[in-house]
Symmetry: C2
């Protein structure tokens, strides 16, 4: 009963570990990823590490510069804005392509997700610690449900890789949605779900477009705040007397 052979190749496993490490912030942006170092830490040879770095470089999470080494990607505000612009247009395409494939079961699932998100958004006020991950998971599941119904493999892959890059930047920017943003996001999800249940393609597309655009504006608006915070840290050192 031991088989349970690892279907995935070693390189894929390493890629997954590295991806999670980058996403959780264990590896910081700009940090150099030494191949022998990683090979030692993971107790594997150089080749699977190389393989993993190759696949991660393909999605853009890391950059390989020949013999100058490979580094974790640094995403600046412009990158995030560009990525979210692409995500907006692709998510709009997703809702449009999903509609012909939606079933009544999907309708129920979407309404369930919105209902759960409503509860979780309320619960955030009293039990932030447990409600926040729940909220994040519900949000992901909502978008992934729509995405899966497109049956467009290429669209699914592209949005998945974009999402990787964005949660990466989110963890780095210590992005936390405000209460207002959370409630707005809930309302927008509800609007999208209602339009989808109505099979209202244009309405769902417009709402999804606004949804992602609002998210973008919120994230972008947060970035200078982060810069301010860092500037204050620097300022505290050279405090004016």
């Amino acid at each position: 009963m031991q088989p349970m052979v690892e279907k995935r190749t070693l390189g894929d496993q390493v890629a997954q570990i590295l991806r999670e490490g980058i996403l959780t912030g264990e590896f910081e942006p700009g940090q150099r990823l030494s191949e022998p170092d990683l090979a030692n830490r993971l107790n594997v040879s150089l080749t699977p590490v190389r393989e993993a770095l190759g696949t991660l470089a393909a999605t853009g999470l890391i950059v390989r510069n020949g013999r100058q080494g490979t580094h974790v990607r640094k995403l600046d505000v412009e990158d995030i804005e560009n990525l979210l612009a692409v995500r907006e247009t692709l998510e709009v395409l997703a809702v449009r392509q999903s509609i012909p494939n939606l079933t009544e079961e999907d309708d129920g699932h979407m309404q369930y997700l919105v209902a759960e998100q409503t509860k979780a958004t309320e619960r955030v006020k009293v039990d932030l610690h447990s409600a926040l991950p729940r909220l994040s998971a519900l949000n992901d599941e909502f978008h992934e449900l729509i995405l899966a119904r497109t049956r467009n493999e290429w669209l699914i892959n592209m949005l998945a890789s974009i999402q990787d890059l964005l949660v990466f930047s989110r963890s780095r920017l210590r992005f936390n949605a405000t209460l207002e943003r959370r409630q707005a996001s809930l309302a927008e999800h509800r609007g999208i779900a209602q339009a989808l249940v109505r099979r209202d393609s244009d309405g769902a597309a417009r709402r999804m477009s606004e949804h992602v655009r609002h998210l973008k504006e919120h994230v972008i608006a947060l970035v200078p705040e982060v810069q301010d915070r860092e500037r204050q840290q620097v300022g505290s050192q050279e405090e004016p007397r």
Copy 2:
């Protein structure tokens, strides 16, 4: 006198060779790509071949199925339709994002390209052999100019990989635009260019959307014809007596 050290890594060179080989139809869809075989043919070791296969798999040109080997991707009608749907929405985003960065020099360049395309489209009637590649190059340059002006690295990369997959399918389907399609394409390019010169974002977006959608419909309509042709070939082998 051979300094001219190859900056690019061997793996990248192999990837480029393989990509061109697939795009030109030297390697047919579904064909198995044996790593030792490729290594022998290119006089390199297994590692760069492996590296190249990894990067090509990331863009979707080939599929790697564990120890079952790696094969050239087979694109069916659904794939082409899905890819062109994604391309449509991304090209629309491209025109919108390019407008703020367009210069008067770009206006002149676009008008030059359209003028050249007009001449080439006329010349196709008398000198098809030389005008056809020219037409293809002009078409590519037109889209690439707009794309470059977006200054959106992510958008550029995604559209480039999609374009790879599409010219691949185009060569495989022996896709040849009809005369009507070529003239329509020229008119559409002219309309897009005029809207861009006017800095008319909505107009350019609408025209680009229609442009790619028309291309999609034209390509899709051609596919059954290809299937018929193949059916005839099979029929000639098992000829009824």
